[in-house]
Symmetry: C2
Subunit: 610 residues, 2 copies
């Protein structure tokens, strides 16, 4: 039974009332940004549009609702109160330490689909969820994303818009709340809704312009949107910031502000407690249990002497996906270089080309990861930096996400500094509990990919371009927080700790030094975060001299991780790293220029121990 | 005298010949991506369009030419050879260790306007240069940006497009080389030039579609572009990747590849050595020496007991700009929060609103910085992450760039994790030679802003939301690589090393401990990179116990910097940092939850020294 127009008005009053109440109670929060979108969201949730089982927020037949304008959280939480999902009293805990209702929606609130609050990211998450329904599960679920007009200035939004059109995501509906005012004043286009309409339409979307406070019109726009057959749909709603409270309406200077108690008193007759009222959502879609697609068998090849880590990563992912149907790979138009084309050939339906738009790629992965898949995000290590903020936010998604950055380090050589990932370890180490791994050969790459695909959170694998010597076998074991001691003796005078391409150099240095009667320990610290503290400390104790070598800039990488492990120990350390601005050249020449090759290692050892 | 059509053809043959020669010699480089844009660039440089004094690459009357598709560097360098700027023999050093001609244009080559190679950034740099001519110097220089079709997928390009239209940059001309093929295959729109035309026009640009290999048509398009009065102009050129060599033309699989010597032999009759031929550019514009605008006086206020660092930063910038006309501030629609509105009110003509588009903001700053200004880039610390790749590239621009990230740390409290910059120190420390500063009160903020505005490279200042106690005076001295010892005695049992908002907490802890007869040293490590190693080492030696406290995630921040300073020393360390996923709450409650407040410091001291 459809909700009556009158009841929608009552529900809007309920939601508005509680938005004001909860922000006043918190003395904080985005009151006016919430008020502008009340009718938009009440129409969506209770106007016979959204399919959702309120009792089961993770039901696979639920539509998805993402607040890209996460600061409108008072509206978001009030909607769920109107749906009967949470008690109204809980709204009054908003923004307090013990509340699930944080300033911006976090995963602590069970209805949150994905964390938002850094603007311009929600539509990408929606793209991931819509891709999931359209291409993976073939289910009827729709994805709705509420966008602010200010955040339309973020390039990431246009990346999502273009990709959604490319993949014909007719199950994706964006709703722009054009309330004219950003944080510090008017947006670039103010109330010119046609400016948005023209741009979004040019990018291949179906667009509907609507008065965002007229409930029946919004309901009808949403129902029209649901009938789209090939295009994603953008509803562009003209609204009034602060709608419903005269002193706030369309006024600058109220962004992110709550009413003072005295102000609250004054507007009492504008908001009326509507008592208990419950909105009904449409029942969740009936979905059949997902048939596990028939798995294509894929074998990691036998590797004799050499293979690049990037190639091994491609094989390892393809192999793993033949055992685990949840593995899905996204790549940013570089699959021939990252070797994700190996995966693509093996599992074409589980590979999505994301073009050169890394930010949207990460957002899409968050959407897929939230729905139970194991997305793998692939580009050059240098270019994953492009999505650093999306990567930052992804740590709050509590989803499995495997990032693979190829062509890391100065060892790529000729392309020069712009293509070299030299801050990538620092970036991923800086995330609170990310895992950072760096394989040095084909078999360690295989093993680390497998570990990366079982970890529940964010994992980064640093992958490299050059072929490296095969040093491990299929049966060697690796673990998150582990390391491999490549060479050890009781006469070791120093320990070289490194990972990735420079293991080849370290082993060559080891050989030459040994021939000259000098023994060094060599540790493959393939797990940079967490680090194998025990093995490192033992080496420090036994050899008293650590030489940390990394194809990375001086700060934030392996050295910093090792120093944490050995604080307070009586040990001398040397650090060989990319200390000079890199120069185009052959990989060998660049390694020598930067002083991270075999020669530099030997010199560092012999300077002290010859 | 205009170049004859015939000579333009000869110049194109010259450029094409050398593109092939130099990539074959290097056995590396982007041959086909260079060949597609030969006529576009020959027409621009030698068709009577570009004003440029080849002998003086930094002449203020030169137009600007930026290769956003930096991988077309063989074309770029060959053009300068055709202009007589460099000898053709030098082209054969391409991509070698001793050459100025790197894989992607770097500042080692004197004609490079700004480093490119990470796609999608060049148009933003062009926006900066066009803003400079239109709004700062009021000069007739025009800025030309060559774009690849693949990179149009980057959201950052659309940020630049929207901002250029907003600021009516009719002196900015983009040229899209629509050669259909990206790196691993066809782009999203292939040869459908109308797809680009429609999108760019919807964003408010004047657009011209042209056959990119017809020299007279390209020349005429460029001349038409130069007549635009209010809109930036995009020339959308349909081209053939690999143009001029039949075996390469419009073929997939040739991206980033050079011809093998045998292949080179086979195409000998397709490329003919045209001998010595020189193209003429139009003379540089006659520009008068820039009149230094009359400086508005501005005084940093007297601060009695408390002020937030962000507010002090606003005053300090306004004061400094009243002495130095090169200071210019960009902010991403948060100036009321970052307090850049203080600057804006004082110097409205030196403030540019960049809206919520951080990537373009940084690229714009690079453009301004390259032309001799001192751009200041401002947003929340968390949201500067959005531009991490642009920030990464900016370290290669060899220009003064001051980044200010406000609302850093969990101490912002109620807004929650999405708004908290907790990886910002790690991000900026990871840049090879960036400076990272963090003031703790109004006067240190003033001093550090002044230092930041004299440094020749990248500087990051971490700014905070909360009011902090005033502990310094106007005459206290600060320096890059310095620190301030807040409390010291001969009985110190431990040293608290911290910076920013937690100095207030450390001083409170100091007071309480002292009252209980326990003396601790307190160091304000306001210069995180470089760190004041001597003072830290002395404290380690004298107190044997360092307690490092930072409102930042565990890795990549102050702790890692301190550990580098004290390697091998016999000292125990504790680290108090944001170790738990933050929660919305009052600042005091959040600091306590994370264990970085006064109480946690006192406990850490007394656990060992009570």
């Amino acid at each position: 039974m459809p909700t009556s127009p009158k009841k929608l008005i009552t529900l809007s009053a309920f939601v508005r009332y509680w938005i004001v109440r909860m922000t006043t109670a918190a003395q904080s929060g985005h009151l006016t940004s919430s008020l502008s979108a009340v009718e938009l969201m009440v129409a969506l949730c209770f106007g016979g549009v959204l399919h959702y089982d309120v009792k089961r927020p993770r039901h696979p037949g639920n539509d998805h609702l993402i607040f890209s304008k996460g600061h409108a959280s008072p509206l978001y939480y009030s909607l769920w109160a109107a749906a009967g999902a949470i008690p109204t009293e809980e709204l009054l805990t908003f923004r307090s330490m013990t509340s699930r209702l944080e300033g911006h929606p976090s995963m602590r609130f069970p209805y949150t689909e994905a964390p938002t609050g850094s603007l311009g990211q929600g539509l990408s998450i929606g793209v991931g969820m819509a891709l999931h329904a359209k291409y993976i599960t073939h289910r009827p679920n729709r994805t709705y994303v509420l966008l602010g007009d200010s955040e339309m200035a973020e390039g990431s939004v246009w990346e999502a818009i273009q990709l959604a059109a490319h993949y014909k995501l007719n199950n994706l509906v964006g709703i722009i709340d054009v309330n004219r005012l950003g944080q510090r004043g008017e947006t670039m286009y103010g109330h010119r809704v046609q400016a948005y309409q023209r741009r979004v339409a040019a990018f291949g979307w179906h667009t509907i312009v609507v008065d965002g406070h007229k409930l029946p019109r919004v309901v009808s726009a949403l129902k029209r949107a649901a009938r789209s057959t090939t295009k994603p749909v953008m509803i562009i709603a003209q609204t009034v910031k602060g709608k419903g409270i005269a002193m706030l309406e369309n006024k600058n200077g109220w962004h992110g502000k709550a009413l003072h108690p005295e102000q609250y008193e004054k507007i009492q007759d504008e908001i009326v407690d509507p008592g208990t009222v419950r909105g009904q959502m449409l029942a969740a879609w009936r979905v059949s249990k997902q048939s596990t697609s028939r798995k294509k068998s894929y074998q990691f090849p036998e590797v004799s002497t050499r293979m690049s880590v990037r190639e091994a990563v491609g094989h390892a992912l393809a192999e793993r996906a033949s055992q685990d149907a949840s593995v899905i790979v996204l790549d940013a138009e570089v699959s021939n270089s990252t070797k994700m084309d190996i995966f693509k050939r093996a599992h074409p339906k589980r590979f999505f080309e994301m073009f050169i738009a890394e930010q949207n790629m990460v957002g899409t992965a968050v959407g897929l990861g939230r729905l139970g898949l194991r997305p793998v995000v692939s580009s050059f290590a240098a270019f994953l930096m492009r999505a650093a903020d999306q990567i930052r936010m992804s740590q709050y998604a509590h989803a499995p996400l495997l990032y693979i950055g190829s062509h890391a380090g100065s060892s790529i050589g000729k392309d020069g500094a712009s293509q070299m990932g030299l801050e990538d370890i620092a970036l991923f180490r800086s995330l609170r509990d990310a895992v950072v791994l760096c394989p040095s050969d084909a078999y360690s790459a295989r093993a680390l990919v497998r570990l990366g695909l079982t970890h529940p959170g964010v994992v980064y694998i640093r992958s490299t371009r050059a072929e490296t010597r095969t040093r491990y076998t299929r049966s060697d074991t690796f673990q998150i927080g582990g390391s491999r001691v490549r060479h050890r003796s009781s006469q070791d005078v120093a320990t070289i700790i490194t990972m990735g391409v420079t293991i080849d150099e370290a082993e060559a240095a080891y050989g030459e030094l040994k021939a000259n009667g000098i023994r060094v320990r060599v540790i493959d610290a393939y797990s940079i975060k967490p680090l194998d503290v025990r093995t490192i400390r033992r080496a420090a104790r036994e050899t008293k001299h650590l030489i940390i070598v990394e194809d990375h800039y001086p700060d934030g990488g392996l050295r910093d991780a090792v120093l944490q492990a050995i604080t307070g120990m009586d040990v001398s350390t040397d650090h060989l790293c990319v200390g000079r601005e890199p120069h185009s050249g052959s990989p060998a020449a660049v390694l020598q220029y930067e002083g991270i090759g075999k020669r530099a290692m030997i010199q560092t050892v012999t300077r002290k121990h010859a």
